[in-house]
Amino acid sequence: MNDSDQEDTSRRKFIRVATISASAACGLFPLAAGIPALLDPVTKSFGNAGNVPWSKVAPFVSLPEDGTPAKFEVVQEKVVDAWTTYKDVPVGAVYLTRREKDVVAFNLKCPHLGCAIDFRKQSNDYFCPCHNSSFALDGSITTENSPSPRPMDTMETKVEDGYVWIRFQHFRPNIPEKTPLS
């Protein structure tokens, strides 16, 4: 191989590398331009894990005195969905149970995969019709090999001026710990 051949080979190699690099840059650029926007949701925290607002749910006297659960929807004063700010919209539902002067609240959503849990009057327990998890009135698991990894999700409540207030939250499904969604 003489010098000019060698020069030609390295020139050709350079052209190939340059061409592939430039083409790859052009080809990948449009997608790259949108990657940050695409990944935007994982860079933000949602929900209100840090500062849960109190929502007024129902008059205390409307709860059965014998501790039978009653279902209520929870209306939040302000809800932001992407660009829209809603006022006074239902964000979920709870079972409220009277315990003397206090109230226990269970999220309607099953801690397993988020189906809506029923209260069964006959057997006086909670039952998830999706995957058959069942829970006692205190929210504890009653199924053997329960699909749900944890008891029903409770939330902070208070009774003020005759009304039940709640700090309503959703939690990460299908893990043993109760972790607020964020």
Binding site: C26, A33, G34, D40
Partner: protein, 584 residues
């Protein structure tokens, strides 16, 4: 690795295909003049990818289109960049289209046997322009809204079926949800799919006939890979850099205030349609919408045949150069006319103000489900300036304009109200020279009234020097939000001056002789108790003919409340607005 590729090749035959694609012969060697087709393909590819990503954020409805674009632009990480790239690449694509077309025409590549491909190319140009037009509306801001109204009204010019076409495209007769869903379906579905199909046909036909070689050939023949591809890729990179540069420089694509049919905005298309816009000032809409496009279609169809002879080819080249030169001239004319038009500049500035304003309200309150446009419609600041422009500015001025920044053509015939009731404003009012000038009462009967002739004109220099103190007293009663209140001692001193307790003003020239403050008596000049305060201003706008104001000496000031020209709420908004800020 080789085993996998061998298997893949055995089942798909991809190596042959790749070879076919890459080893296209380029007679006369790779040249820069051949890059435009690849550049356009790259631009279109960028639009498809960035457009699909934008799709993930866009919501086509009258209450969510602007809002979702706002969210992408200001709340999503890198959203402004993604949108900017799509916006500026669309503009680059138009420039590239013209370059590609001119290269084809000048090189004679449109002639036999490539006529069909030339026509397909022209069709693709039409589809690309339709993509621009439909994309312009999607952010649902004032600019897109008003410009699209013009564009769709042109459609109605087509004989017989025009009105039906317009109705189909708009989704009715009013612009709303269905205009957006249809434009979006066209922009993100129908038109790109058409363009993909046309690109395939275009490239197939291009391959069938091979590259049209411009003689003389500079070098020996080579192949598409890698020589021509390198040139293509470098050109694409240059475009990419230009687009990124524009995006960074302008910090993404603009987003005007939300579309509002009740909020006037001077409709202008995107810059590459400006020549058509300008043309419509000279020719009837029917020409712009039907005759000229029809002529162009026929002409483009005929060009390959006309170009078969040398003079015909020259004619074709001349035709396109003339068209381009004409378009540039019309575009420049359009820009120049807008620049010379003060109202246009004011309208653009006003739209800019509204865009900033709506952003600051959104930051403060969020966007209600009814959409961002309701924020501006309810905003007291925005309503105040608009009410002033509509009801006050034909006589009064605000910083010399109509409250929004528009120049007013009617002669000023009532006081300038920027900084109304401030110390500076009243001090000037109490100066004879200003009192009788157009800036205050020069355009009214009060110019020759008692106050002007028998009081202000008669003050000695010593008395004149006391007037700023009177101004401080009066202005204090206005309780303007941007001025500090006087302390009690100071107020008492100034009141003593007003009442002329120490007889510092000559007889007949003390304020108290005609005007009252805090007394039951009705002097014959306006009562100055609470002058310029919210209560005073509201009452004055409601009825300046009330006994405590001008009474029967009122000179043309309408009684907005008494005669139900404005509601109480509107008068309150006006009062707040007039009293909110010092003069500029």
């Amino acid at each position: 690795m080789k085993v996998i590729f061998d298997w893949l090749d055995d089942r798909s035959g991809y190596r042959n295909l790749l070879h076919e694609v890459l080893y296209e012969k380029v007679p006369g060697g790779a040249r820069w003049r051949y890059v435009w087709g690849s550049c356009l393909t790259f631009a279109f590819f960028t639009q498809v990818v960035t457009g699909t990503l934008l799709w993930m954020f866009y919501s086509p409805s009258a209450q969510t289109a602007w809002e979702s674009v706002y969210f992408l632009q200001y709340q999503v990480w890198g959203g402004w960049f993604l949108r900017g790239v799509h916006h500026y690449m669309a503009q680059a694509m138009i420039v590239l289209l013209v370059l590609h077309l001119m290269q084809v025409v000048i090189d004679g590549a449109y002639r036999a046997p490539r006529e069909l491909n030339f026509w397909f190319g022209a069709l693709m140009m039409g589809v690309t322009l339709a993509l621009s037009l439909t994309g312009y509306l999607l952010p649902w801001d004032q600019k897109g809204y008003w410009a699209t109204a013009v564009a769709t009204n042109l459609m109605a010019e087509v004989p017989w079926i025009g009105p039906a076409i317009q109705k189909i495209v708009v989704g009715g007769v009013e612009y709303g949800h269905h205009t957006l869903t249809r434009f979006f379906a066209l922009h993100a579905g129908v038109l790109p799919a058409m363009l993909v199909g046309l690109v395939v046909i275009h490239i197939y036909l291009f391959r069938k006939h091979g590259i049209h070689v411009k003689e003389p050939r500079p070098k020996r023949d080579s192949y598409f890979w890698p020589d021509q591809i390198l040139k293509d890729a470098i050109a694409c990179l240059a475009i990419l850099l230009a687009v990124v540069g524009l995006t960074l420089y302008f910090r993404g694509a603009p987003l005007g205030p939300p579309a509002d049919p009740a909020n006037e905005f001077p409709a202008r298309p995107e810059w590459y349609f400006l020549f058509l816009f300008q043309l419509l000032k000279y020719v009837p809409a029917f020409w712009g919408a039907v005759i000229i496009p029809a002529f162009l279609v026929l002409w483009i169809f005929a060009q390959p045949f006309i170009g078969a002879t040398r003079p015909g080819h020259q004619l074709n080249i001349g035709f396109w150069w003339t068209l381009i030169a004409g378009s540039i001239a019309l575009t420049l004319l359009a820009f120049a006319e807008d620049r010379a038009n003060l109202r246009h500049a004011a309208a653009i500035e006003e739209a800019g103000w509204q865009a900033d304003r709506v952003l600051s309200i959104v930051e403060d309150q969020g966007i209600p489900p009814a959409g961002a446009v309701t924020l501006l419609r309810k905003d007291p600041e925005n309503r105040g300036r608009n009410l002033f422009a509509a009801h006050c500015a034909s006589c009064h001025r605000y910083n010399g304009h109509d409250g929004r920044g528009y120049p007013v053509t009617d002669e000023q015939s009532a006081p300038e109200l920027a900084g109304f009731a401030s110390v500076e404003w009243i001090t000037k009012l109490l100066t004879h020279k200003h009192y009788i000038s157009a800036e205050y009462f020069g355009g009214t009967a009060f110019k020759d009234g008692t106050m002007a002739r028998k009081v202000l004109a008669k003050y000695t220099p010593e008395e004149t020097a006391l007037l700023p103190d009177i101004a401080r007293l009066l202005s204090d009663m206005a309780e303007l939000p941007y001025q500090e209140a006087l302390d009690d001692e100071e107020r008492d001193e100034l009141l003593a001056l007003f009442y002329n307790d120490d007889s510092v003003f000559q007889d007949g020239l003390a304020c108290i002789e005609c005007h009252d403050i805090d007394s039951e008596e009705e002097g014959h000049a306006p009562d100055l108790t609470g002058y310029g305060s919210n209560e005073w201003t509201v009452a004055f706008i409601k009825n300046p003919e009330e006994e405590r104001f001008y009474g029967d000496e009122n000179d043309r000031m309408p009684c907005y409340g008494r005669d139900a020209k404005l509601t109480d709420e509107e008068i309150q908004i006006l009062s707040n607005w007039i009293r909110a800020k010092p003069a500029e």
